[in-house]
Amino acid sequence: MIQPLLSLRGTSKSYAGSPALIDAALDLLPGEVHGLMGENGAGKSTLIKILAGIVAPDSAQIMVRGQTVSIHSPSDSFAAGLRFIHQELAVVPSLSAAENIFLGRPTPRRAGLLIDWRRLNRDARAALDVLGITHIDPRIGIGQLSIGDQMLVKIAAAFLVTEETPTNAARIIIMDEPTAALTDDESARLFRVICTLRDQGGAVLYVSHRMDEIFDICNRVTVMRDGRVIASLPIQETNTADLIARMTGRQLDALYPPKDPLIDNASVILSANNLTTERVAGITFELRAGEILGIAGLMGAGKSEVLRALVGADRRLSGVMHLDGRRIGRGSLAKSWREGIAYIPEERRAQGLMLSRSIRDNITLPHLGAMSRGGIFVNRARERRAVDHLGQVVRLKSQGAAQIIRELSGGNQQKALFARALAAEGEDAAGGLRVMLLDEPTRGVDIGAKADIYTLLREMAARGIGIALASSDLGELIGVCNRVIVVRAGHQTESLDSANLTQERLLTACYGTNEEHSA
């Protein structure tokens, strides 16, 4: 039996009486990438926060290389050799990569006074090289690097070897959904670094919602549900369906509900002809009642920008758009919402939510005019009815409409955004909901909420609403859409109907045939 680098026993934590983590146990072996999976609220975050010294456990036994350690603060955690990479990176954009690597560590100095730049850059270089990160110059301003490269710098920083940090420190790194904001290329580079770490005898605890990643890079996987560790097993002994079943505690026959065949003579709701903005060109399609139209493309190819053009967030330079046969002139976001075009933007926190406001305020914002007496005084009773009803429709889990939306999990926040879109439906809106424009609607959402969202999309389509869905998850596009248009470098290049929707066809279309990888 190999001695684990990190092992955790009997770890429990409850908040105000409700248990978040119950008797959790976990072993992290040297030379392994260990996936940690579970729905939001399963206890992953609590476990990680305990390891990071941010949350004090009710009980816990933590051992690093067989030595019991006590972690009461982030500095205890650091001293024990634990390193963390979070989704949102804490970097100082105005400093160089090398300076960021040395952030929080003693800076090498000459005569104890002047910064020894040469040694600083050399040590930073060495820290990057050890992990095979050769394409980043440590002297470059970190703000100029992509998010993915910034993350690589942070990983190098985590394992910086200085006189104060002995080389034989345990190389344990815990990554919390590191790829959430990365492009595919950046993710690939990150995976190479993770493998390097693994091969050097380090251990990676890897939290992710993305099945393909788990199967690509993990040796073992631990599944959590309702605060308990359900299973820890070698990756060869499981598969996607099995993991989903363990995570949700129910058998998901299929993540994607069956597609309804399109009605041949369904009316065209939204049409675009040669739509052009500063960032996309030549967008042409017809969206029919009940149709789910996918928008595929590599990161940066212009998927989001297509939706932004449709909703009026970016100025339309040329081209024609029709809604229900009526021509739409120069659109604006306000006008789109009024006319029944609902929009869920890509960045849930930055563009979607007002985090400090209540669930109610977030849901009804675009429809306040229709929910007010004389368009002025908010009709709270009507508002409450609508929010309660929509909460049920989208299966929102909350403590009530007045709860601050920040407190919800990512999946429930996303459901609240769906509720906002759906609020255009029903008695309270003028025109009713006609079109939903969705940008990465399931990113960072756990598998249970994902299934809920797909079911919801089908329900909306069945009611004759047209849906345009931009996604970088090809499986999702194939599983949900009736048709997919592909954008490459800002231009619409192809339109694939249901019969032609395969992973290979889509990938080929996204990358293009003549090797113009523009991601």
Binding site: S14, Y15, A16, S18, P19, A20, G41, T46, I54, D226, G227, A313, S332, L333, A334, K335, S336, W337, R338, Y343, P345, A350, Q351, G352, L353, M354, L355, S356, R357, D361, L365, P366, L368, G369, M371, S372, G375, I376, F377, V378, R384, V387, D388, G391, Q392, R395, L396, K397, S398, Q399, G400, A401, I404, E407, L408, S409, R420
Partner: protein, 340 residues
């Protein structure tokens, strides 16, 4: 209550005592201050005439702070309100003077001042929402412009005496009789009444209308508000318009109370107004401005001023003390608001 499903999932919510302390710490402190003055000044402090007096003293600040709340709800500031108050007062007085203080010029002067307030607010609004200058910088600029204009209009002098029409100056001295003190009637001051009316209007606008809800949404996340169909630029512009108008009303009230106008009389109002909004913000769960919180903030400043004056505390000491109280209130509420 709603019918949405409540999960057993552990969301981290502070216990109710912590929550109570966090949001009512400022209010408790305020009551303690009142109690202190009540004990130290037993004969005069806790009397109706004194409270009516306090209400009149703070009425100008109150109007400006209430309307300041409107822009602060969006996370913006208007630093120009003080000099706008001066400019509005001087503008009215200038019109009065041109008409030799005739009674007929009263309405004309007041109208001119209000228009100046709206124009000033429009300038701020355009700079902030259309040109896109940070409110702090834009209104710092207009602060100086308005102040300079006030000097230009007044010629640097105080306009007073016979140049001020009687109806204008008697407004602030007047009120609704609510009782008698010996021979003299006890009045509920007109200025207080005016401040209350502004309070009600601002409260309705911010808390009961879709307009107010949208302003709070902008304050929560202006980008998300925009993507939800809120016309962020138009609303921001209009909010600055309202704040400018409020500043002009405050300036008129001040000029009426002292029966004169000079180009620096509004100078201290801006900092006090922002302080009052900050004090109010410590009373809300998410640290957002609410006009009723602002009211408490204004009263705290007014009561301190009144009580300390009666205790014959040096006015410089008073200023230090008020600064300390603001910092203490904001500190205690932000310490208890540490999240995650």
């Amino acid at each position: 209550m709603t019918t949405t499903i409540t999960p057993p999932a552990p969301t981290k919510r502070p216990n109710s005592l912590g929550r109570l302390l966090r949001t009512s710490g400022t209010l408790i402190g305020f009551l303690a201050v009142i109690l202190y003055f009540w004990v130290k000044i037993p004969n005069t402090f806790m009397t109706l005439p004194n409270w009516l007096n306090i209400s009149q003293q703070v009425s100008m600040l109150a109007v400006i702070a209430f309307t300041m709340t409107i822009v602060m709800v969006m996370g913006d500031y208007d630093l120009s309100v003080g000099s706008m108050a001066s400019l509005a007062g001087v503008t009215a007085a200038f019109v009065f003077k041109q008409n030799h203080g005739s009674v007929e010029s009263t309405a004309l002067g007041v109208m001119a001042a209000l228009i100046v307030g709206l124009v000033g607010g429009l300038i701020n609004g355009v700079l902030v929402s259309l040109v896109g200058i940070a409110p702090f910088v834009a209104t710092l600029g207009t602060l100086t412009i308005f102040s300079g204009t006030a000097f230009l209009v007044s010629g640097g002098a105080t306009i007073f005496g016979r140049d001020i029409p009687t109806p204008f100056s008697s407004f602030a001295r007047g009120g609704i009789p609510v009782g008698m003190i010996g021979e003299r009637p006890l009045l509920f001051p007109n200025l207080t009444l005016l401040a209350l009316i502004v309070l009600v209007i601002v409260w309705v606008v911010l808390e009961q209308t879709s307009y107010g809800r949208r302003l709070y949404a902008i304050g929560g996340n202006s980008e998300a508000a925009r993507f939800s169909g809120v016309r962020v630029r138009t609303l921001r512009l209009s909010a600055f318009l309202l704040t400018g108008l409020g500043a002009a009303i405050g300036g008129l009230m001040y000029a009426s109370r002292v029966s004169s106008a000079n180009p620096i009389q509004g100078a201290g109002l801006m900092l006090d107004a922002i302080a009052a909004v900050f004090l109010g913000m410590t009373m809300s769960e998410e640290g957002e401005p609410h006009v009723l919180g602002t009211l408490v903030g204004v009263l705290i400043l007014g009561v301190l001023d009144n009580g300390l004056t009666q205790l014959k505390v040096d006015s410089y000491v008073r200023e230090v003390l008020i600064g300390v109280i603001i910092i203490a209130a904001v500190t205690s509420s932000s310490l208890s608001r540490r999240r995650r």
